[in-house]
């Protein structure tokens, strides 16, 4: 099983751990050139995608629980390979993950929010950006610094292909996906759990 993401097994964990601890406005790491050993876009073509819309977001995505055996297998492999490494890098013990595929098209967005919800035990959030037929304009992941009176933009991370972003989940890990203004933004995203 450890064939798809075994590049993670050769990461410089000490450097990543230092980056995690030093990151502002809250702990996170950005890992580039994290290339999967399978064609994820092709894999996702068999997974049903629907539009999801609320006051805080509009995007196309797969269901929270994958319909296909292929995506369930990918999710299991993702968790099995990355959980031990991320536990050491972040100091947060995680063992399992959920995973959905997201397609943000022009006009799609996810407004500022924190992922923490009581009872859900989300520890680490992740987003892994996939190559797309037309690279997105906009769609950056934006991290905010929270103060009592305001929220200030602190870091903007472009959704580059094969880039993995992992960040801490807490009440203050405020973030958003900026509106996509053109092209197509494809990603796998979800959370790691204890």
């Amino acid at each position: 099983m450890a064939r798809v993401f075994d590049r993670a097994l050769s990461w410089d964990e000490a450097a990543l751990a230092a980056a995690w601890r030093a990151a502002e406005p809250f702990p996170h790491v950005v890992i580039d050139d994290f290339v999967a050993g399978v064609d994820l876009v092709e894999l996702l073509e068999v997974e049903p995608v629907e539009q999801y819309q609320a006051d805080i977001y509009i995007f196309d995505a797969t269901a929270p629980e994958p319909a296909s055996a292929e995506l369930r297998e990918l999710r299991a492999e993702w968790a099995a390979t990355l959980s031990p490494v991320l536990s050491r890098v972040t100091g947060v013990a995680v063992t399992r993950a959920d995973m959905r595929a997201f397609a943000y098209r022009p006009g799609h967005y996810l407004l500022p929010h924190a992922d923490h919800q009581d009872g859900l035990a989300r520890e680490l959030a992740f987003a892994y950006y996939l190559p797309t037929p037309e690279p997105p304009r906009g769609g950056e992941l934006e991290l905010f610094r929270v103060t009592p009176d305001a929220t200030e933009s602190a870091r903007v991370i472009a959704p580059l292909p094969h880039r993995l972003v992992v960040f801490d989940v807490s009440d203050v890990s405020l973030h958003q996906v900026r509106e996509v203004l053109g092209g197509l933004r494809l990603s796998l995203a979800g959370w790691f759990y204890p």
């Binding site: 006051d55 006009g107 305001a150 929220t151």
Partner: protein
């Protein structure tokens, strides 16, 4: 003329087209900056007496203004549902659309127990009148950055009891 819109979720939920002239707003706006709740500008406002009379006529209630402010949203702005507050009584919320031009997709959504039951599109000159209550909340949808240059949504929001 009152354009009555049937809406399950509130006893009164109507849109009155061409109810107010498109007047320029000279208010001193302040930007709201807690982005997990909303992104917009707001200012104090005077409420024309004819709007209070209109709300009274539509609802059949004797009403007086208890709160009023003007909101201005530009591309990238929004007010989320959890920025709204629940009213234990049944006040009337009147929103007069003072926008200079329609902005596609910029709507006010009224929700009952989280489900949208009434949508108010950006239509300059129109007035919406909705009865609030313990189960009714409201959000102002995100204004797309793909909107035409200069797009601006201006709403006079009035609470009456």
């Amino acid at each position: 003329m009152v354009l009555s819109v049937i809406a399950i979720g509130a006893r009164t939920a109507v849109i009155v087209p061409d109810a107010i002239e498109r007047v320029p707003i000279a208010a001193q706006f302040t930007r709201y900056a807690l982005l997990d709740r909303g992104s917009y500008e707001h200012a104090a406002a005077e409420v024309p007496a004819r709007l209070v009379a209109l709300a009274s006529e539509v609802t059949g209630r004797a009403l007086a203004v208890t709160e009023a402010r003007v909101l201005r949203l530009v591309p990238g702005d929004y007010l989320l549902a959890h920025h709204d507050r629940v009213h234990e009584d049944l006040p009337i919320e009147l929103i007069a659309d003072l926008s200079p031009a329609p902005v596609a997709g910029a709507e006010v959504h009224y929700r009952r127990r989280g489900q949208v039951f009434f949508r108010v599109p950006c239509t300059p000159g129109a007035v919406s009148i909705v009865e609030r209550g313990p189960t009714v909340t409201c959000n102002h949808t995100y204004v797309s950055k793909l909107s035409p240059p200069g797009a601006e949504v201006v709403r006079l929001v009035v609470l009456l009891r």
